[in-house]
Amino acid sequence: MTAAVRRTAAMLGLPAVLVAVWWFASSGSTDVYRPPLSRILVAFRETWFGRRLLDDVAPSLARLAVGYAVALAVGVGLGLVLGSSRPLRALTEPVLEFLRAIPPPVLVPIVMLVAGIGDLMKVLVIVSGCLWPVLLNTVEGVRAVDETLADTCRVYRVGGALRLRHLVLRAASPQIVTGARQALSIGIILMVISEMFAASSGLGFTVVQFQRGFAIPEMWSGVLLLGLLGVVLSLGFRVVEARVLGWYHGLRAAQRGSR
């Protein structure tokens, strides 16, 4: 009982202290740019719980989900192909390294040229940024499949789709999940940035409009919401990861425990 209490205290202690400090430090604030935390929270409730949730937040999240899913599918598929073939890898590596190094937001003007200003542009921007971590990590993961396991599969004549699923994907999955996690944080960033240009709805768009209209408490509330979104998505990812990689975590724990 006390162990659990101590653990929760450790988890909530510092954040609670920081929030309290923020509250009291800003409570008497007359600085227009740093309103009291109480006003920010009031603005949070007024701004985001209402039509805005449906009109702005939901479309943004939907675009993120679609873009992320497409990036995962294309990245894993392409990564499987590239990772299994050394000549292909050697051929494409410099090109991929170069394309990967281009900061994704820089591609927004280019994508705007091609895809206009609607939903397609935003989804494409998200895909173009999320693709690279997934692709490159998949290639790494497929490359590093254990030789012994691969030989065993060959001896037992395990081939084709079965081999793909049980050997390659399974062995590469820790690496793929790492890539997926990086892709998620990039995806959130791109979701916001794609809406800062030529948008008429969306989470990033709303926050920027608040900034332009000098609606400071509402803007702070938007920043808070974006932060919360990042945290919630990251937690959700952790839950999914624990399910998908349960076998891997157990294996690592056993190895470390035996030390």
Binding site: A198, R212, G213, F214
Partner: protein
């Protein structure tokens, strides 16, 4: 290990040295006998030609002001830059300043910036539709999509005023935000039904076959003051002499620019990318020396009516 440490230390020293060479942006205190350094933030558009022309002609240095101008992509960043002292003078449209003042930001207009010509078919701003569009007057814009460069700002407010004046329903107009350079292409591709543009994009849109259906600045108020130069209330209180000298220099620049359009067209090339042949053809705005206070009140009322702000700010505190 020691080599690594030495490398790390020298690396960080180099970096801090490089960073220290960076520009700071805040001007140093004026020493007696030296001209006052004033940093101004403007947008690289036709409207601010007088300040560049005035600087060229020496109107500012005559009054002991060493003026340095920087350009910003949009007005939204100029207000914070003025308020936190990064620059002393900013250029912004009246609606933005009204919004800022209504939210309690201590801005103070000092001098007029630019005004509409007041002539319906010879203004430097207009709403353009594609050739062959069913839209004939501003009233037809109801239910259509109009592109403006900033939402909830002077663009949509004045377009709604045009629609209202022509008898249409202003609330039925859909607005979308696009940067001016992207508008002609979007209009041609049919992504928007109409675009609100200012020079030089107005000339470009007309040359591309577009038709002007509304002169929104003219419809809003006679001789509308579109934008002004402003400073922070803090600077106005702490250094009123500097503000007065700047205002005098700026007024002289405005008068000169209004009287010498050819020199204005020439100076355009020094701070914008506008080609010389385009600069020769475009319609210049007017640069009166006084702010049209009535039009500022009109813009404030429109902003309140359109829901941009709850109530108008105290205009006497805002206007010079």
């Amino acid at each position: 290990m020691r080599r690594q440490l030495a490398a790390l230390v020298s690396f960080s020293l180099t970096l801090t040295g490089a960073a220290a060479c960076g520009s700071s942006g805040t001007p140093s205190k004026p020493s007696p006998g030296q001209p006052d350094k004033v940093a101004g933030a403007v947008i690289a558009i036709v409207d601010v030609a007088p300040v560049y022309l005035g600087k060229q002609k020496g109107f500012f240095s005559q009054r002991n002001i060493d003026l340095s101008l920087s350009t910003s992509q949009g007005g939204a960043a100029i207000v914070p830059a003025v308020l936190n002292g990064q620059v002393q003078i900013g250029f912004s449209n009246v609606t933005s300043l009204l919004l800022a003042a209504s939210k309690g930001l201590p801005v103070k207009m000092v001098c007029n910036g630019v005004a509409s010509t007041g002539v319906p078919d010879k203004d430097y701003s207009g709403v353009v539709v594609k050739a062959g569009s069913p839209v004939r007057t501003a009233a037809d814009l109801a239910g259509k999509t109009v592109a403006v460069n900033t939402l909830k700002n002077i663009g949509d407010t004045t377009v709604r005023a045009s629609v209202r004046k022509a008898g249409g329903d202003p609330k039925a107009v859909k607005f979308v935000e696009l940067a001016f350079p992207d508008m002609p292409a979007a209009l041609q591709a049919g992504r928007v039904d109409a675009i609100w543009v200012v020079e030089p994009f107005l000339t470009a849109a007309k040359a591309g076959g577009g038709r002007v259906v509304a002169a929104n600045y003219v419809d809003t108020a006679p001789n509308l003051t579109v934008a002004t130069y402003f400073t922070s209330a803090q600077l106005a209180k702490s250094n009123p002499d500097l503000v007065k000298r700047f205002t005098e220099a700026m007024t002289e620049s405005l008068r000169y620019a209004d009287a010498h359009p050819d020199e204005v067209r020439q100076v355009l090339g020094t701070y914008t990318q506008i080609a010389a042949d385009v600069a020769a053809k475009l319609t210049l705005p007017k640069w009166p020396t006084d702010i049209n206070r009535q039009s500022v009140q009109t813009l404030a009322d429109l902003a309140v009516g359109d829901g941009l702000m709850d109530r108008a700010p105290d205009l006497s505190a805002l206007l010079p």
